[in-house]
Every structure is written in structure tokens, then in C-alpha cells.
Symmetry: C2
Subunit: 185 residues, 2 copies
């Protein structure tokens, strides 16, 4: 029961935080959306900061599983690198896309909450390691990893602000050029 409450709360909070911005969402709104009592909410998450960290944790899992599903579907190591941008394209096409939740949380609360800042840093470092590993398995130089990750980063904010999906395709095209220039056929 408690576990069911947790997931319902986290899912509702994630949706609200992401759509409106964390500071614009009160705990009352989370309670209403989750269909849970305020007492149950605070039983699971003793403070809003705890809830925020949990939401980011769930978002990290969604990101990680979403990216690797797309990457795992491709066999060729070089093409795996490009699959990341295909995942972005799918994501950007979601009507509710509003940028990277981690970047948004960092900009809003990174300075005020060390826990939030650290959670965001961990997420980005994890993704960087993931891309680095793909690059290595494809036989690319170590310098390629940060460049490819940065393109993904830039695509997310560009797509969020411009409101268009193009950024994913521009990023993918740039990645193809970088990969080819790195000597990966």
C-alpha cells in the first residue's frame, strides 16, 4: 500500500513539477493529483525536497531505460551512437515536452538545494559515462564522448525553447559528421 502510494505520488508530482516548474506546484496540488491525503504524502516524503529528489530519481530511470531501449535495438556500434538522437526526436515530439527536467530543476533550485544539485550532477555524469562507453565500444576516440553528449544537451534546451523538434535532427546530423571525422566509418 505504501509502495503504491509512493509511486502514485511520484508520478503525479513529476507531471506537475515538469509541466509548471517546481516552485509553481504546492504540496496541496500534489496531494490532489495523487489522490492521497496530506498525511500520507508526508508519511512517504517528509519534505518537499525529499519528493523532488525522488521525482528526479524516477526521471533518471525513465531516461536511462528509454535511451538504452533505443540503443539496444541497434546492432552496429557506430549506429548505436546515433540512436541517442532518435530517442530525443521521439521525446521532443511529445506534446508536453518542456526541456530536460534536470536542467530545469538545476536552474531553479541548484543554488538553493545541494541535494538537488548533486542529484542533477549524478544524472548528467551517468549519461556522460554511458555515451563514453558507447564511443569506446565503437572504437572512437575518448574526445568524441563529451562532444556527442553536449550535442544532446544542446538539443534538449534548443527544442524546449524553440518548441520545435528540428533540434534533434540537427544534433543527429552534427553527430554523424563528428563520428565520421573521428574515423568511424
Amino acid at each position: 500500500m505504501s509502495e503504491e502510494n509512493r509511486t502514485r505520488i511520484v508520478e503525479a508530482a513529476d507531471e506537475l513539477f515538469y509541466a509548471r516548474g517546481i516552485g509553481q506546484v504546492g504540496m496541496d496540488a500534489v496531494r490532489d493529483a495523487a489522490g492521497v491525503s496530506l498525511r500520507a504524502l508526508y508519511n512517504e516524503f517528509p519534505s518537499k525536497e525529499d519528493l523532488i529528489v525522488a521525482v528526479l530519481g524516477k526521471r533518471h530511470e525513465m531516461w536511462t531505460s528509454g535511451v538504452s531501449r533505443k540503443v539496444d535495438a541497434i546492432a552496429e556500434p557506430r549506429a548505436k551512437l546515433l540512436a541517442v538522437y532518435d530517442y530525443l526526436a521521439d521525446w521532443f515530439d511529445d506534446g508536453d515536452f518542456r526541456g530536460c527536467g534536470f536542467i530545469n530543476a538545476f536552474g531553479e533550485l541548484g543554488a538553493a538545494s545541494p541535494r538537488v544539485a548533486e542529484t542533477v550532477q549524478d544524472h548528467k555524469a551517468d549519461f556522460q559515462r554511458y555515451v563514453d562507453a558507447l564511443v569506446e565500444r565503437a572504437g572512437g576516440p575518448a574526445s568524441l564522448g563529451p562532444q556527442l553528449a553536449m550535442l544532446a544537451e544542446g538539443a534538449q534546451t534548443t527544442a524546449a525553447i524553440s518548441g520545435t523538434t528540428e533540434a534533434a535532427h540537427h544534433a543527429r546530423a552534427a553527430a554523424e559528421t563528428l563520428i565520421a571525422a573521428a574515423g568511424l566509418a
Copy 2:
């Protein structure tokens, strides 16, 4: 006098908003930092949203003049493109660097305030046009502009979250590769 008040308020607010996140800064804090009465503050900016938009406007000017100062110092059209990343490197080295103020504002308030969202969009569109113009003058293909701008975008968020300057150099290296691949010697 009123003009002097305006600039003092905007400068103080910019520093606070950027360092702490906009929602974490009350109008009282702005008043204290600006050394101005609350009445004078509201005389110049009838609402906090007005102040936020003014702060973003000033930030846009700082960004525009900073980038073009760096770009104008270079003669060769191809090298002008890379000067953008040198500007980023300088900026990231600032101890108070905390990412792109526009991205931060968008993530925090873009959904709640159409005026903020539009101001951020205008800023990014302006920068994109600027890069596109540099690319065109260098004889590069139109597809290069979005790619270079996206690298700059990604570098800013990466540097902000990782807390390191490297991102500017990675972005610059990637830009060199993209520029070379586009046939610009």
C-alpha cells in the same frame, strides 16, 4: 535619477536572480541590494514580472555585446565562428557562472509566464540569427548554423552542471570539426 535607479535595481536583481534562482529572491532582497526604497522599486517596475523581463533584457545586451566584442576582434570569417566558444570559455571561468540565465528562467517560469517565455525565445532566436549570419559570411552551408548554436547551448548547461570549464573546449573542438567538414578550410 529615475534612470539611475532603474539600472541599479536591474543590476542588483540580475545578480540575485542569477545566483539564487528567481523564485528564491524576494522583492525585499532586491530592494536591499539595490539600496532603494520599495516605493522606488515599484515605481520603476510595477510587478516582479516586469523586473524579470527587464533583467533578461539587460542580460541579452550583455551577452550580445560580449559575444560580438570577441567575434569582432577576429578578422578571418572562419575563425570568427570559433570566437564564440572562446567567449564561452571566458564566461565559464567566472566564479559565479551558473549556466545560461535564459535557460534557467525558462525552466523555472516559462510555463507560468508567457512574457518570460517569449523573452527567452527572442533571445535564443536572435543568437541563432547571429550565428547563421556568421556562417553565411564564412561561406558555410545553412545547416551549419543550428549545429554550431546547439554546441554553444550544450556547452552552457554542461559547464553549469559539471562546474568545469572543459565544456567550452570540447564545444570548440567539435565546432572545428564541423566547420572543416563543411568545406571551410
